[in-house]
Amino acid sequence: MEHYHMNLTLKVWKQKNRNEKGRFETYQVKNISSEMSFLEMFDVLNEQLIAEGKEPIAFDHDCREGICGMCSMYINGRAHGPWHHTTTCQLHMREYKDGDTIVVEPWRANAFPVIKDLVVDREAFDRIIQAGGYVSVNTGNAVDANAIPIEKHEADESFASAACIGCGACVAACPNASAMLFVSAKVSHLAMLPQGDPERKTRVTNMIQQMDKEGFGSCTNIGACEAECPKGISLENIARLNREYIGSMTAGGSQNSI
């Protein structure tokens, strides 16, 4: 692949803290290599700002290999930018060309208050997991791992749901700021496994209750969450969540409702 360099205009959301009003600031960056990652381009910008005696832009990031779920930029109107199945940290600058303008915002949702600039508070997700996103098994209680055979297809499906990285792109992308894709991924992961079965009804009820309490919006089947999810979590999870939820309210319940 040919390497090239580019100059860019960035319009970035700056906000001092949770309580103060934010605004867009415009920055110029020069000589950006097409081989850089998007966050490395931000590193360059921040180094430039520090050298100029200005304040750098705060943004969340950690693993920079697309798995920790910490990075969270809304780039030109899309969560994690234009690449399919890609987190912000894995987006590379060969997507852009000289002279482009890029607009970068934080995740916007009532349940994700801005901490500073592009950094938001996602502890609501932790609290949803606390409401039931687990199997109640203490250390030492386990039987031999192969005593629980699980059909390969089921195991693979469960894994596909468990691949969620909890980044919150689904919420950011949704016009209603709904957390249904996140919640459904966890409910599905555990509902498809025999280990998750005993708590199936209480789990779905409690997690949905917590989701509502946190102020996330409702799902209206738009599908932006699936389109923007960096891990390809499918909308089928939401259908499954709904079945689980209905199942939890009826006698006999969800046992056969996958």
Binding site: D62, F125, V135, A145, N146, A162, A163
Partner: protein, 658 residues
């Protein structure tokens, strides 16, 4: 002070069983009165906090990320070892123990490693019970794969996301304890000091990274589960935030640092592409199962990989190590890659890379698949297409990641790889109970030095983190806290807390008042370059001596010229980074001192002066069969304590993978 490793008496295989049966216990009512602080929420921290919460202790966890689920254990790709012998291929607890001791080049403690191997099977059971979706066969049972340094298939995995799935399992167990009120969790908090009361660790000073406020927290015991320090090299496969700060503060409060120079350089990482590079990305070692590593036979060959005919390729690992081939341990594979590149056979624009080629695996799998589908005379294109599907199922997410980063399609052209800093075997010295030389202070997982000797085998980091957290600390902590049941919670207005907090505040004020001209990042980069050039894959006495002086000078410059924008009492990532880099600037010196002291080559520590004729690591068992445990005595002053390693069962030999 003589080091007491507290290894229980008795036969190797019985030590842990005997310990568990005879250690002191704390009754449930007393557990509710005992408070435990856990620093870090990766596999070791989350599993420890969850298990201790289940037992009834009052636990507090701290992590610098925005959620415990982000800890860098999440990035582990390939798998987790366990001596289940599900494949009936000759595995056993003993064999896992033996492979680990040998893989570590005979610089690990036998008793610890045996315990690790013996609890490994329980880990898999526990994780499956939590709903960790490991890969399975069509019969519904768990699947295994091979990993470097072993000849059995004992690695359990969840595609290339094993660390993620295990961490989510531990995280969920932790969140359950949070919901039950047994654990209180503090995210975006960083530990900046240990509080000592009457010679014991009794609490921590942490900084709230959102508000910048300092907080005091009491604990009857403090568990450091804060990971490794590979980021001292600036470029590594670690997360950007991974740091040594918690461990280093503990070190300065009296915890000895064990084998700091033992660093693992992982052979299969995506090569550096330019000066802008902020981190290096690992391509799982599992890729060496099916991929073949080669360079051109001709020096400086500028042809494209696919244009180089088979007979002009040097599969140098298969050539040098016919018994293990591409599956030699990491240290051996890394050095072999460096040797080829240094000799002028490297590939790619930088010439600092070798090929990892999947063409023959794709063809092999394609043929098998064609047979399965009953296609008798499948043409080459069909075979390749079928083979690509198989490879995609096994390694798809890794191939995708490679393509995103490099813009090249690894199904069509071989990947380019080069070694990168990945893991640190060294860490806080601990005894058999995982207690440091500071009473009441424990270190678990990568933060301690204990189980991997001078080189860690692939898929063993996850195993150790979870062994320490789920199965070791619940026993050993109780054994010690049983003597502490009469100790009431110490109020945090105790003078020791006030003094520790003042010390932390004073240091932050000092950092902020420098107002120099150079960014934290640029100091970190410069430190990394010194470390990589002189304390990296190959080291020698002269280079190490130079590095020590260079680091001292750099540290001085940092403290007089670093520029930290923003304010103290706000979310200020530059200040967080400055706190960490200041500690790396001290640690780097100790690593060089340790590397200089160790006049031998072993595992990942390769001193150029000590090698065999064909370039293999040459140990000096006579003089160096010990753990180097360093005591902090003031700036640039460290006293060496030796823990002799005694091998009752395994007889150290020169490691051979030929």
């Amino acid at each position: 002070m003589p080091l007491n490793s507290k290894i229980p008496a008795g036969e190797l295989a019985e030590k842990w069983e005997k310990y568990k049966s005879t250690c002191k216990l704390v009754n449930p009512a007393n557990k509710r009165q005992l408070e435990v602080i856990v620093i870090g929420t990766g596999l070791a921290g989350a599993s420890a906090a969850a298990s201790l919460g289940e037992l009834g202790y009052k636990v507090k966890t701290f992590c610098f990320q925005d959620s415990p689920r982000r800890a860098h254990s999440i990035a582990a790709q390939g798998g987790i070892n366990a001596a289940k012998n599900y494949q009936n291929d000759g595995d056993s607890t003993y064999r896992l123990f033996y492979d680990t001791v040998k893989g570590g080049d005979y610089r690990a403690r036998e008793a610890n490693v045996y315990r690790l191997a013996s609890v490994s099977a329980n880990i898999i059971d526990q994780c499956v019970a939590q709903g960790v979706p490991f890969a399975r066969e069509y019969g519904g049972l768990l699947s295994n794969r091979s990993f470097g340094g072993t000849q059995v298939q004992r690695t359990f995995y969840a595609a290339g996301q094993t660390g993620q799935q295990l961490l989510i399992g531990a995280y969920q167990a932790l969140e359950r304890q949070v919901a039950l009120g047994n654990v209180k969790q503090y995210s975006r908090h960083e530990m900046l000091d240990i509080v000592m009361v009457e010679g014991k660790a009794r609490g921590v000073i942490v900084r709230n990274l959102v508000t910048g406020e300092l907080e005091r927290h009491f604990g009857h015991a403090v568990l450091l589960c804060s990971g490794g320090y590979g980021n001292v090299f600036y470029l590594s496969t670690n997360a950007m935030g991974s740091n040594v700060t918690a461990a280093w503060k503990a070190h300065k409060k009296g915890a000895f640092f064990g084998n700091p120079c033992f660093t693992q350089i992982h052979p299969t990482c995506i090569p550096v592409s330019g000066d802008h590079q902020s981190k290096l990305t690992l391509m799982s070692e599992s890729l060496r199962n099916d991929g073949r590593i080669w360079v051109p036979k001709k020096q400086g060959d500028t042809r494209k990989a696919n244009e180089i005919p088979e007979e002009e390729r040097d599969y140098y690992l298969e050539r040098r190590y016919p018994a293990f081939g591409n599956l030699v341990p990491r240290d051996v594979a890394s050095r072999a890659a460096k040797e080829r590149c240094d000799a002028g056979y490297g590939v790619g624009a930088s010439k600092q890379a070798v090929y990892l080629d999947y063409a023959s695996a794709i063809e092999r799998y394609g043929k098998i698949e064609a047979n399965k589908q009953g296609l008798a005379n499948a043409d080459k294109a069909t075979i390749i297409a079928l083979g690509k599907d198989v490879v995609k199922e096994k390694y798809g997410n890794l191939f995708e990641m490679y393509e995103k980063i490099t813009g090249e399609n690894p199904y069509e052209v071989p990947m380019r790889i080069y070694p990168a800093v990945h893991y640190t075997m060294g860490g806080i010295w601990v005894d058999y109970e995982l207690q440091t030389t500071v009473p009441g202070l424990y270190a678990l997982g990568e933060a301690n030095f204990s189980d991997h000797g001078a080189n860690r085998l692939g898929a063993s980091a996850l195993m150790q983190g979870l062994a320490d957290g789920y199965f070791v600390i619940p026993y050993t902590l109780g054994n010690n806290l049983a003597d502490d049941i009469r100790t009431k919670a110490i109020p945090t207005d105790h003078p020791a807390f006030v003094a520790a907090e003042n010390e932390v505040r004073e240091r932050i004020n000092r950092l902020m008042s420098i107002k120099g001209t150079e960014s934290v990042e640029s100091f970190h980069k410069r430190l990394g370059k010194i470390m990589w050039d002189k304390c990296g894959m190959a080291r020698n006495a002269q280079g190490l001596k130079e590095a020590i002086e260079e680091i001292k000078a750099l540290r001085k410059e940092f403290w007089s010229n670093v520029r930290i924008p923003g304010e103290i009492n706000e979310h200020n990532p530059e200040l967080d980074k400055a706190n960490r880099v200041a500690d790396f600037l001290e640690l780097g010196e100790l690593m060089c001192i340790d590397a200089l002291n160790r006049n031998e080559s072993c595992g990942g520590h390769f001193r150029e002066e000590y090698q065999t004729e064909d370039g293999e690591a040459l140990r000096q068992d006579e003089g160096y069969m010990y753990v180097a445990a360093w005591e902090y005595k003031g700036e640039s002053q460290y006293e060496l304590h030796k823990e002799d390693l005694i091998y009752d069962v395994v007889h150290p030999t020169q490691r051979s993978y030929k």
